[in-house]
Symmetry: C2
Subunit: 283 residues, 2 copies
């Protein structure tokens, strides 16, 4: 049976036992409300490690003051089922005051990589992410940790943090899982009303158009972005937050396609902010 653990000390005790038996530990940090994207991470971890830990923690310090912390969707019963069916051994589900028992003074910040994309729009978000992931890594101390490529900037930041801070953990980025009509799976999709759900396909459709341009050797980033913006604006329920093409590794803006790039966007559908992206290898 899958174990739900709420206390850090209890988790550490169990993990020590696994390590004493030389069992490898895979870790999938999540904010819960698990969908097929998370399921694919858990499945991969469970195929590559003897033990898989899934954390479910809606981390307050990565939400801005006007963001959706309070209404972020939660469903622990369903999460248990999804985690269990995909091979998780333990769900770590701490309360906020277990993770933050006293005023937090210490923060981990990955500078530079948080300047563009979501970082430019969500001030302090990635500082909150890097900080909680550091805490979780120190608690779980896994051999491998799994992150979705949907949060491409988060993945780049975590990879750089692990290198810079000498975490002895292999970071594995897993492909985006999509609905049949192309919409990237996201816990926030549950916010969408039926009309909005239909409109939300505009993200992937636009990414496909950009991909086509890149395949046709278009290298002028301004031209590509303008066309993409026009395409999204055809959808009345959509409001662009950003559409950007950045260097895949430094996440700095590029003007010309002459290196590996990340094509990424954030678009509001009604009040719901959705993100999507793909990376494109230049050669």
């Amino acid at each position: 049976m899958i174990k739900i653990i709420e206390k850090i000390d209890e988790l550490r005790k169990i993990l020590k036992e696994y390590r004493r038996n030389n069992q490898t530990i895979g870790f999938v940090p999540t904010m819960g409300y698990l969908h097929e994207g998370h399921a694919s991470l858990i499945k991969r971890s469970s195929s590559e490690n003897e033990i898989t830990i899934v954390s479910i923690f809606v981390n307050p310090i990565q939400f801005g003051p006007n963001e959706d912390l309070d209404k972020y969707p939660r469903d622990l019963e369903r999460d248990k089922k999804v985690a269990f069916e995909n091979g998780a051994d333990i769900i770590f589900h701490p309360k906020v005051n277990e993770m933050y028992p006293e005023k937090l003074y210490t923060f981990v910040n990955v500078e530079n990589l948080d300047k563009e994309l979501c970082g430019a729009k969500r001030e302090g978000h990635f500082k909150g992410v890097a900080t909680v992931v550091t805490k979780l890594f120190n608690i779980v101390n896994p051999d491998k940790a799994y992150f979705g490529k949907k949060d491409a900037q988060q993945l780049a930041i975590i990879k750089k943090m692990v290198k810079d801070m000498n975490f002895d953990i292999e970071i594995i980025g897993c492909d985006i899982i999509r609905e049949k009509d192309g919409l990237a799976k996201s816990s926030r999709n549950s916010y969408l009303k039926p009309k909005e759900r239909k409109a939300a396909t505009i993200l992937k459709k636009t990414l496909d158009k950009i991909k086509e341009m890149l395949d046709n050797k278009e290298t002028d980033v301004k031209k590509i972005i303008n066309l993409a913006i026009k395409n999204i604006e055809k959808e009345p329920l959509a409001k662009i937050d950003y559409v950007e093409i950045v260097d895949l590794y430094t996440l700095e803006k590029v003007n010309k396609i002459e290196t590996d790039v990340l094509v990424a966007m954030a678009v509001y559908i009604g009040k719901t902010r959705l993100i999507d992206n793909f990376d494109y290898k230049f050669n």
Copy 2:
């Protein structure tokens, strides 16, 4: 024989072996030029752990642009001897490009605790300390780590960082070791010319005077500080950087002695900046 290890991967490999044998690991991070203060940390670690690792790394990112990085004293041969004689098993002595192989983007910062004392004077210093200690903790992953109370602010910051970031490491603060005339042992004492060496006793003498006032129930911090300043100014070679009385835990300035406090000072003797302190329990 004591082992000198320069490479992170090699150290990790050896440490894994120790851990497989369930040997406890004590860690003493230093910048080298070991004196009796370091020796006492190493001795304590070796008495409390099966294996003791001493790191010797002059960490560039904790030095300001006008500080003494280049002329910081180094003597690996003597350090080996001191470490060995006091029970160290391994010296970890990485080159700068082993610790910082590429541009560092990730920094650990312990906010608030770096506002007063040395933090106010050495901008970015404690961010550099917290960052390198995080890296070293992730590399060595010790059971216990030993720090001197001479660097009282550093000790408070590391303790808070370990709590906030859930490092599974016990931090042990060790008493200041002094010369016969009271001067706190420090690698920087080697900078002092004979006349300066004599003048340097003004720090401890002034701390003793403050201690006497506290024992006599003086609670007016302003009065205490003013007397201390006057006392230091009697020494022509001394130039005060700061004399402060702060809350022992929050490191915030206090006006009245009504809680546990840290009495700390930094004084230039010639061009050499020396620090000293004591903590005083209120009851």
